[in-house]
């Protein structure tokens, strides 16, 4: 096994036993970046010098006996999270030259824990997209099949973990942007409860939906990162003033007494047969581990969540993106003869197509005469979706569903059809609408180009087998991250999907 393939907990054990230094581990990851990055394109910026400097500091901390579980472990940060003095582009021309004057809360926490940052991960512009093709700089390729997308918008974060171009990454999730790429790249991706992690320093997309979370190689690593980033921060007024449990206490390898519900509405028309088979096999495995399964749970409004989301998220986005005016920071088009004209030109030339589409949808939905029919209606439907989850969680501890209706699709396949692209988020949007936590955990592989071929069920692939990763989604009521991690961990430990690595 190569050093760059280590998980956080494996690397931390070796660091603690002094069998390995952070400097060696960081160099191994940087070498891997040099070898694989040209094909994967997971990063907007690689911060090699900074990483080596931070690795040296981490080694000093470890020698002094002052190490935490993440000390000296190389990580990637999605380029929507502000890193003081390190470019933070949001995948946009608009912020190509932006140097944040402050540190995001999560990067501050990670720095205190001994962060080694190897780079800023590529993403769909302003986190709007499901394939990372909307990055203004370059697309990211799926490490399992370079002709396919890694998902999005945290596609760079998912691809760099899958390709072992870092040990773990942070992403952000507004409608599936951590979980869908995690599923498509075969890694663990966790969207915590709305308010569980401070968003101070996260460039805002849709403020009632956005949340930061980890992308990792296994569930143990996910718990370790959550232990560092979760918790109250006064600088984010929506951040929950609640105590944070030790998430590693949830890593229990059995599911006795856990009640699982499988909502039928998530098995949508057009879902890939292999994905369906993988999810069903995962639920059966959880049943073997002691869980009780109810296959008849119903969340009747699920089918309306997508329309609800594509009204609410763009409406909030247009308000947030009004700050890009070419005056305070970022791209500025000064060819006009007045401030207003320059503002118009700055936005025309600074934003890409998907961002413009969402701004237009949001502005339309909030404009005079349409507010009641679209925005207010969507907010009422949001209440119905929340209530249905509340009712389901009276009877079930967790709900288990697909993450994405299909495995990774080809680059370019959905670019010309925005609505088709939006449909890739159909299973991951309702959780943001309700604010509840949800994880994607690897649960199988689907044959590339498949769709009709039937799965042979539980066929573990050796490293680099041909097939595209599939993830299973586990969700729970607000702030019940521990139960999600328990179910995810027990399932993971009983299977070997998370051990597979792509051939690169």
């Amino acid at each position: 096994m190569e050093l760059y393939d280590l998980t956080i907990h494996e690397a931390a054990d070796r660091l603690a036993r002094r069998e390995l230094s952070s400097r060696e581990l960081t160099q191994a990851v940087l070498d891997r970046i040099h070898q694989a990055e040209e094909r994967v394109g997971a990063y907007v910026t690689v911060t090699e010098e900074l990483a080596l400097k931070q690795a040296e500091e981490a080694d000093k901390r470890i020698t002094a006996g002052d190490a935490a579980p993440l000390t000296g472990i190389p990580a990637a940060i999605k380029d929507v999270i502000c890193t003081k003095g390190v470019p933070t582009t949001c995948g946009s021309r608009m912020l190509e030259s932006f140097l944040p004057p402050y540190q995001a809360h999560v990067t501050e926490r990670l720095l205190d824990a001994g962060l080694v940052m190897v780079g800023k991960a590529n993403m769909d512009e302003f986190a709007m997209g499901s394939s990372t093709e909307n990055s203004a700089f370059h697309p990211t390729h799926n490490p399992w099949d370079l002709e396919r997308v890694p998902g999005g918008s945290s596609g760079g974060s998912a691809a760099t973990v899958a390709a072992s171009e870092c040990i773990y990454a942070l992403g952000s999730d507004t409608g599936g942007s951590i979980r869908q790429p995690a599923s498509l790249c075969g890694v663990v991706g966790f969207k915590p409860t709305y308010g569980r992690v401070s968003r101070f320093g996260l460039v805002a997309f849709a403020s009632s939906l956005d949340q930061i979370g980890p992308l990792t190689k296994d569930v143990t690593d996910c718990a370790l990162v959550m232990n560092v980033i979760a918790g109250h921060d006064k600088r984010d007024a929506t951040c929950a003033p609640l105590d944070v449990p030790d998430y590693t206490q949830s890593l229990i390898p059995d599911l006795k007494g856990i009640r699982i519900g499988v909502p039928q509405e998530y098995f949508v028309e057009g879902m890939d047969d292999d994905v369906r088979a993988s999810i069903e096999a995962a639920v059966h495995k959880m049943e073997e581990l002691g869980a009780e399964v109810d296959w008849e749970v119903s969340l009747p409004s699920t089918g309306y969540a997508l329309a609800c989301y594509y009204i609410i998220a763009p409406s909030e986005a247009m308000a947030n993106l009004a700050r890009y005016d070419g005056v305070k920071y970022g791209y500025s088009d000064m060819r006009g003869d007045s401030m207003w004209r320059n503002m118009e030109l700055t936005r025309q030339h600074g934003f890409g197509d998907e961002v413009k589409r969402r701004i237009m949808l949001g502005t339309y939905a909030l404009s005079a005469g349409y507010y009641d029919a679209y925005y207010l209606k969507a907010q009422k439907v949001r209440t119905l979706i929340r209530r249905e989850f509340d009712a389901a969680f009276q009877r079930c501890d967790v709900l288990v569903t697909p993450v994405s209706p299909t495995p990774a699709f080809k680059l370019g396949e959905k670019v010309a059809d925005p609505l088709q692209m939006y449909l890739s988020d159909v299973c991951t949007i309702p959780q943001n609408i309700a604010g509840i936590p949800a994880i994607s955990v690897p649960c199988g592989f689907a044959p590339a180009g498949g769709g009709s071929a039937s799965a042979e069920g539980g066929r573990p692939l050796a490293s680099g087998g041909d097939g595209l990763p599939v993830g299973v989604q586990i969700m729970a009521k607000a702030f019940d991250e521990p139960t999600i991690l328990r179910v995810a961990y027990a399932y993971e430990q009983a299977t070997s999907w998370h051990e597979a690595r792509p051939n690169l």
Partner: protein
Amino acid sequence: MAITREEVQHVAMLFRMSMSEEDIAKFQQQLSQIIDYFQVLQQIDTEGIPPTSQPFSLENVMRADEPRPSYPTEDILANAPLSEGGFFRVRAVLE
């Protein structure tokens, strides 16, 4: 189509964003398709259902109103396209 060419232009100008002729045509077609899709919501009865603006009801999070240092002016202006004498500089606002 659900949205006219003039509406596309009007909405873009509400946001203070100019748009090429080519984009107006493309967005008219794409936005119409998406707005048609939104009509699915009209099937649901939401009579008497209150709206949700954010998932949990944290309300009026206050802090003490105490003066504290802000970011240094030069750090903030370092990202500005144009600045002068400690201010952001823009082209003429009034004729």
